[in-house]
């Protein structure tokens, strides 16, 4: 089954005092480049990192990441 994973990290950062990517990276223990790759949908983080991101913004996981199944023909 194929699916698309999207996220609201950029919006959540701006809503949290315009947090920078570097600041978020420092809080969750990854590099700024990794945060950028996650935001752009180029990289899917591990559950550990995904939960850390959600806890930084104090929101549930599905408020950060959304999964959409692609319909098969």
């Amino acid at each position: 089954m194929d699916g698309d994973i999207t996220n609201n990290i950029r919006r959540l950062r701006f809503e949290n005092d315009e947090m920078t990517q570097q600041h978020l990276a420092d809080l969750i223990g990854v590099t700024r480049q990794t945060v950028n790759a996650i935001e752009l949908g180029k990289y899917s983080p591990s559950l550990d990192v995904a939960f850390r991101i959600a806890s930084v913004f104090d929101v549930p996981l599905d408020a950060v990441f959304q999964f959409q199944l692609k319909s098969k023909r």
Binding site: G29, T31, T34, A37
Partner: protein, 140 residues
């Protein structure tokens, strides 16, 4: 550019420069410009460059960018290195297999065999660091 990507670039370029100098030494030795026994020293120098040079450059970069060096490899960087190492392994395995075949059916000259082994090792290192750089540039 992240610190890990800089490491990969430095190692990649360092290997190219080292192998370039070694090939130059080979050509000069073949033309009689330098004595043949200097080649043994250049082989040792090449091996030292492959092992020591990346370590020295990493230490210097870590001193220049202390913040980056304090963080361990994150999961994405670890994934890049693992994937690159896996691809480089196949290059090395193919090189060694090809060299084994050549040794069994062709040359028995020790110098040719040493060069073949060096070539396989250097090529696999180039593939490893080149692949890491590609992953870093692409972002995934």
């Amino acid at each position: 550019m992240s610190l890990r990507e800089r490491f990969a670039w430095v190692a990649f370029l360092g290997i190219i420069i080292s192998i370039g100098l070694y090939v130059l030494a080979l050509i000069l030795a073949a033309r009689g410009v330098i004595p043949g026994h200097y080649l043994f020293a250049t082989v040792l120098g090449l091996i030292a460059a492959l092992i020591v040079l990346p370590l020295v450059i990493r230490a210097l970069l870590a001193i220049r960018m202390p913040k980056g060096s304090l963080t361990e490899q994150d999961e994405r960087e670890r994934l890049f290195e693992l994937k690159a190492t896996r691809i480089a392994f196949f290059v090395l395995a193919f090189g060694v297999g090809f060299l084994t075949f050549l040794t069994a059916h062709g040359t028995r000259n020790p110098r040719d065999i040493v060069h073949g082994v060096l070539a396989a090792i250097v090529l696999s290192y180039l593939v490893k660091f080149g692949t890491e750089i590609r992953y870093h540039r692409r972002g995934y």
